[in-house]
Amino acid sequence: MANDQGHLMIKTALHAGRIMIENGSEIARVSDTIRRIAANAGYPDSKVYVTITGIMMSVSGEDNAQIEPVTTRSIDLEKITRVNDLSRHFADQKITLAEFDQRLTDLDQHPRYFPLWLQLISAGVLSGSLEVVFRGNYPDFWVTCLIGLIGWGIFYGVNQLAKVRFLSEFLAAAGIGVLAILAVKYHLGTSADDIIIGSVMPLVPGVPLTNAVRDILAGDLVSGVARGMEALMSAIAIGSGIAMILQAM
C-alpha cells in the first residue's frame, strides 16, 4: 500500500469486519460495511472476500492484499449495531478514520452485556412463557421458569469454564432433563415433556439458524453451509443431551 491512509483504512475496515463476524452478523452486511468504509475513505474500488472464518481485502491497482482471521465466535447483537452506527458516523464525516479505529478497539475491549442476574431471569421467564404458548400447560409455568433459569446458569457457567459452546449446550440440556424428570417425580410439575420443551428454548441456536438461511439466500454459500452446520451441531448437542437422560431415567 502506497501510503499510511491506505494502511489505516484497510486495518480499520478489517477490524470492523472481524468484530461483526465474531458477534454473529450475516456475511452480506459485513462485506457491504467494509466496502462502504473503503469508499468513504477514498478507495471506491476495493475487493473484499468475506467468509465466516476469515476476511481478505485488497484495493485495486495497489499491491499487498491483507487477511484477517476470525477465530472466536459469540453472540452479541449490540456490538454489530454499534459498528453499524460508527460506520454511519464515518460516512457522515462526524469522525475521522483514526477515531473510528480507536472506537472499534474500545468497543472490542469493553462489551456491554446485560448483567448475569437479568440474563438468568430472562431465561427463566422465556422458558415459562414459551411453555404456556406451545403447550397451554398453565400449572407448570413456575417450575418451568425455575428449571429454565438453572439450565441457562449451567450453560453460562460451563461456557465460562470450557469455552466450547456445544459442550455447554449438551450439559445444560442434560441438566434440564434430569431436573424436569425429578420435578415430576416429586410432584412439583405435571408433565416432564412440557417442562423440558419450555426450559430448552433459551438454548435454541436462533442466530446461526437465521443467518444460515439469510447467507444461503444472499449467495454466500460457503458461509451459509458452515453456519447451518453450526446450528445443526447445537441442535444435536441439545437433542442428545435430552435423549441420553430420557433413555437413562
Binding site: G24, S25, E26, R29, I75, D76, L77, E78, I80, T81, N84, D85, R88, R112, Y113, F114, L118, Q119, S122, A123, V125, L126, S129, L130, V132, V133, F134, R135, G136, W152, D193, I196, I197, V200, M201, P202, V204, G206, V207, T210, N211, V213, R214, L217, A235, G239, I242, A243, M244, L246, Q247
Partner: protein, 160 residues
C-alpha cells in the same frame, strides 16, 4: 379469546427476554416485542382459519420479515436485531422434542413423522423470510423511483 390474549402477552415477554439473552440493544427491544406479537397473531389467525401449519408459519415469517425491515429502516439498525427475537415463538420446539424422545425410546416411525413436520415448518419459515426479502426489494425499487432522497442515497447500490 382470553387464551389468545394471554398467549399474545406471553409472546411479547418471550420475544423481549430472548432479545436480552442475545444482547440486543436496549432501544430496539420494545419494537422487537411488538413484531413478535403481530406475527404470532397472524400465525394464530391462519391456524384458526384452518389453513394448515405450513401456510400459517409462512405467513408468520412473512410478517416478521416485512415488519423488521421497516423497523430497521426507521431505527437505522441492522435487521437481525428485530427478526431473530421475533422468530422464537415459531421454533418447532414441541415437534423437535417429540422427535428426539421417540428416537431415544426406539419408536422410529413416529420419530420420522415428527421429523417431517419439523422439516415442513422450517422450510415454510425459510420461504416466508425469502418472500419478505422479495417484498422489501420491490419496496426499495419503488422508493427509488418515487422519492428523490432515496434515489440519491441508493443510486450506486448494485442490488437495486
Amino acid at each position: 379469546m382470553l387464551n389468545l390474549l394471554i398467549e399474545l402477552g406471553l409472546t411479547y415477554i418471550a420475544t423481549i427476554t430472548f432479545g436480552v439473552l442475545l444482547n440486543v440493544p436496549r432501544t430496539s427491544l420494545n419494537i422487537g416485542g411488538w413484531i413478535g406479537v403481530l406475527s404470532f397473531l397472524a400465525y394464530r389467525l391462519c391456524m384458526m382459519a384452518d389453513m394448515g401449519i405450513a401456510i400459517a408459519n409462512l405467513v408468520g415469517a412473512l410478517v416478521i420479515g416485512i415488519l423488521s425491515m421497516q423497523a430497521a429502516r426507521y431505527k437505522k439498525m441492522p435487521v437481525i436485531n428485530f427478526n431473530i427475537p421475533a422468530l422464537v415463538p415459531f421454533v418447532p420446539g414441541g415437534q423437535a422434542y417429540q422427535m428426539i424422545k421417540n428416537f431415544a425410546l426406539g419408536d422410529v416411525s413416529t420419530a420420522i413423522s415428527f421429523l417431517l413436520q419439523v422439516t415442513i415448518i422450517a422450510g415454510s419459515i425459510a420461504f416466508g423470510l425469502l418472500l419478505a426479502e422479495m417484498v422489501n426489494r420491490l419496496q426499495s425499487k419503488l422508493m427509488v423511483i418515487f422519492s428523490s432522497r432515496w434515489s440519491r442515497d441508493n443510486r450506486r447500490n448494485p442490488k437495486l
